[in-house]
Structures are given as structure tokens and as C-alpha cells.
């Protein structure tokens, strides 16, 4: 990385003493540099702006714009801020150097200038300049990649959102809310009537973040959409076991997922559900002694262990009850700032009347959690799914 390897490193020399300038120029040219000379601060600044040099050598004391003032202007100029600025001075007082450094000068050269020192300092300046330029290039590249990534994540989030179902009306009403996190968190949810009697609904959360977590969640969405009426409607735990077999962690880039899946049979008012390492579903009944019941069955996250066993539970659902499903993004904050809530605190702070009765119950859950955690943005995806059993 010898600076002199560059065919024409360009130096701008600004000195109102033309004899001195001519001598320095001759020395620099002998050192292999391309030199432009300006006879005043004003001319120097104009030249620098027209064609930014790599190094500026500038006399301190000049008529009009002096070296300090010029240095300040150069360092303020975004396009010139990286130019290596050497002040030529016959003053060697500490105070003067402080003034020079404060104005942004990178180095000093004391007059009378010794040729070897001049060339050595210019070479050092060129190395610094090259390093700075490389840093700027890297920073720009990084920013561009960051922007690309953000755009891709936004596009992916919009895609996922587009796949999510519309609210269901009728005697069993279902709605949902999907809020992608800053990095996309691999959440997914779905609900649909599989036949006239069976409503299937679930919320899942793939481990990890970003596009890599979103792809498996989309694959799961399509897989679960292909389910047709059959045994699985009676035994959701079998479905989980099948998924566990089909999505081993080793084949999913080390990713596993948690799931809460329920199948509601309208004719019998029975809800059968199976969970895999997922937070419980919350059943809110109108007149019950326990207004909120946690629904959870035993089961590890899917993909972790080949021989994992899954279970299902069932319960009768009273008319007027509501069921709330969610992913952990609603109460856990993966980032340092803002506190996470415990599951208990989250459940205690739930606006459960709104969940049960309000059209905007899910938005209310979101705003309550946001307030409790003391932050504006959720780091992880937040998914909420609500089933209201009206009949």
C-alpha cells in the first residue's frame, strides 16, 4: 500500500510566497506527486472544490484567507472533509498548534521545510487519506446493504400479511392482528372452517429472526392449509406429531417452532387443542368463577426431538366465551431496552372485557402491552388471534 504506487497522488499546495511554493513543488514533484499550486487561500479553496486533492499543504500566515480559516472551511465541506490537511508554520508555540488542531489540521510542518520530512509527511498523509476513503466506502456499502435488507424485510412482512385470513363473521367470530417486528420474527397464524362443523385455528412462532425464520413459517402455513376433513380433526396431537416428523430441526437450518392449534366442533361445542412449547391460550368466559383459564397441553417445540410425544386436551366452550391466542412477542422484549413482562403480569394486565366485547379488542391488547413494557416498538413479531363464541 505504498502511496507512491498510485500514478498521480494529488497534492494541493497553497502558499502566497511563490518562491517557497516553487521550491516545495519541485521537491514534491521529484517525490513523484502531482502538485497543484494556489497563491492564496481563496484560490486554494476554489481549486480544492473543483478537484478534491488527497493532501493539502497550506501556509499558515497568508493575506486574506489564512491557513486556519481555510482549514476550517475545508473540514466543514463534506466533499473535502477527508482531505489530509498539513499546515506549514514557522510558529512552533504549543498554543498555535492547539489552534491549528482545533481548526481540524491533521499535521504540521515547520518552516524551513526539510525535503525528506516533507515527503515523509505527505506519504503518511496519503496513507491516512486512503484509509479514511476506505472507511467511507465501507460505511456507504454497509448502509446500502442495511437499506436493502430493510426493504426486503418490509416486502416479506407485506407478503406474510397478504397471506393472512380476513376476519370471520357469524356465530363464531375470528379476527387477528399481525405486527411484524423490526427484523421479522417468524410468526404465522391462520384460521378457517375445514368443513361445516369444524373450525381450525392456530398461532405459531419459528425460532430465530429474519427471512430465514419466515420461510419455514410460510411453508407451515401452506402445509396446514392443505388439511382436509379427517382423523386429524379429532386428534390434533397426531397432526403435531406429523409436523414434528416432517420438520426436523436438522433440515430446517436449526430452526424449530412453537405452536398452539385448536379445532372447534360447533355441533358439540367442544374445543380440542394441542400445544407445542407455546404460551397458553386464554379462555375468557362470561360468568365463570375464573374469568381467565389457561389452555395448554404438554408438548415440546416442534422439530427439537424426533421422538417427542404430543397430547391434546378438550373442553366445552360456553356461549359468550372468547379465546385469545398470542406469540411471546407481545410480552417479551428481545432487546435490552424496555422491560419484558412475565406471562403472569401480561395476563393480569389484559384488558379482558375489551377482548371479550370490543370490536377493537386486539388493538387494545397491543396498546396495553406496549404501555406496560414502556416502549413504542416491539422487537419481535407480535401475533394475536381471537375467537369469539357468540352462539
Amino acid at each position: 500500500m505504498d502511496a507512491r504506487a498510485d500514478p498521480q497522488p494529488s497534492i494541493l499546495l497553497i502558499d502566497d510566497d511563490r518562491i517557497h511554493a516553487r521550491i516545495l513543488r519541485a521537491q514534491l514533484e521529484r517525490g513523484g506527486f502531482h502538485v497543484e499550486v494556489a497563491a492564496s487561500g481563496g484560490e486554494g479553496l476554489a481549486l480544492a472544490r473543483r478537484r478534491p486533492p488527497e493532501v493539502i499543504l497550506c501556509d499558515w500566515i497568508m493575506e486574506g484567507i489564512d491557513g486556519i480559516e481555510l482549514c476550517h472551511s475545508v473540514k466543514q465541506d463534506e466533499r473535502l472533509a477527508n482531505v489530509y490537511f498539513i499546515l506549514l508554520t514557522s510558529l512552533s508555540e504549543v498554543h498555535d498548534r492547539v489552534v491549528g488542531l482545533d481548526s481540524g489540521a491533521d499535521d504540521f510542518l515547520t518552516k524551513p521545510v526539510v525535503a525528506e520530512e516533507l515527503l515523509a509527511r505527505v506519504r503518511a498523509g496519503l496513507r491516512m487519506h486512503e484509509m479514511n476513503e476506505r472507511m467511507v466506502r465501507l460505511a456507504k456499502e454497509l448502509q446500502r446493504k442495511q437499506d436493502d435488507l430493510e426493504r426486503e424485510l418490509n416486502e416479506a412482512a407485506a407478503y406474510v400479511r397478504g397471506l393472512l385470513p380476513r376476519p370471520l363473521k357469524g356465530n363464531v367470530q375470528v379476527d387477528s392482528l399481525f405486527l411484524p417486528g423490526q427484523q421479522l420474527g417468524g410468526d404465522c397464524l391462520d384460521y378457517r372452517w375445514i368443513d361445516a362443523d369444524h373450525l381450525m385455528f392456530y398461532v405459531l412462532d419459528v425460532s430465530g429472526h429474519g427471512i430465514a425464520a419466515t420461510l419455514p413459517s410460510l411453508s407451515l402455513l401452506h402445509r396446514l392449509r392443505s388439511i382436509t376433513p379427517g382423523d386429524q380433526l379429532v386428534h390434533p396431537e397426531q397432526l403435531l406429531a406429523e409436523l414434528n416428523h416432517d420438520y426436523p430441526m436438522a433440515e430446517q437450518g436449526g430452526r424449530y417452532f412453537t405452536l398452539w392449534l385448536g379445532i372447534y366442533q360447533r355441533s358439540s361445542r367442544q374445543l380440542r387443542y394441542a400445544t407445542a412449547g407455546h404460551p397458553p391460550g386464554l379462555l375468557i368466559s362470561v360468568n365463570g368463577q375464573q374469568p381467565i383459564r389457561r389452555l395448554s397441553s404438554q408438548g415440546m417445540a416442534i422439530g427439537l426431538f424426533e421422538d417427542a410425544v404430543f397430547h391434546s386436551c378438550s373442553c366445552r366452550v360456553d356461549p359468550g366465551s372468547s379465546l385469545l391466542l398470542f406469540t411471546d412477542g407481545i410480552y417479551e422484549n428481545p432487546h435490552e431496552r424496555g422491560g419484558s413482562l412475565s406471562l403472569d403480569t401480561f395476563i393480569e394486565s389484559l384488558p379482558w372485557r375489551e377482548v371479550q366485547f370490543s370490536e377493537h379488542g386486539l388493538e387494545k391488547v397491543l396498546s396495553t402491552a406496549r404501555k406496560s413494557m414502556g416502549m413504542q416498538l416491539f422487537g419481535d413479531d407480535v401475533s394475536l388471534l381471537r375467537v369469539r363464541f357468540m352462539e
Binding site: D17, R18, I19, H20, R22, I23, A26, Q27, R30, K111, P112, A115
Partner: protein
Amino acid sequence: MNDTKQAPDPCDGTIDPTVWAELQELMGPETDDVLAELIDSYLEDTTRQLTLIQEASRNRNPVGLARAIHTLRSPSASLGALKLADLCSDVEGRLRGDDPLGHWPPEHLDTLMAEAERAMAALKARGSHHGRQS
């Protein structure tokens, strides 16, 4: 390149031989052209500064006089006219002191002017050795 050193110098002592030798060495293969150019510039600038010095002296203008002398100092030092450069520092110092008009024209101004003439003559002589007629 060395024939310059051997040539008779009508104003020995006016131009410091060490500075001059360094200049010649530094300029490399283009020495003659560059030195001739430097001498041309120096003669032109010094003639102008000497006129300004005379004017300022006549008009009893210490600020103008100090500025002209200051301007003369640095190029003189660059080309080896060290005696002249020292005189410039000395007279400029007196002019920037208290009551510059108390002793007018300032002490050593005549010596400075005479030395400047000698430096110009010496450089002119060297210039003719460097291939270009100044």
C-alpha cells in the same frame, strides 16, 4: 551541475553556499530550469518590494514598511540570502516595537537596501550560469 560552485562569484557571502547547494541537489535533473525560474521570480518580486520599501520610508508609514520587509524576508531566506533575511527580521522587529516613528528611517534600513541590491546582483549572476538570461 558543479560548475556553478566553481564559477567566480562577485558577491561572495551574500548567498549562503550551503543553502544553494541544497537547492541544486533537491531540484534534481531540472535544476537549471527551476533555479532560473526562481531567480526570475525573486528579482521581479524584490524589485517591487524595494520600491514599496522606499515609498513607505518616504511616507513615514511603519505598517506598510513592515509589511514590505516581511514579504521580502521569506523568499530571501529560501534562496540563501540569509544575511538579507536576518536584516529583514531585525528591521521588522524594530518597526513592530513601541514608537516606530521615534527613529526614522529605522536603523539598518540603508544596510538592508544595500544588501538587497547585492543579493539581487549575486542571484542575477548565478541566473546567467543557469542557462537562462534573467
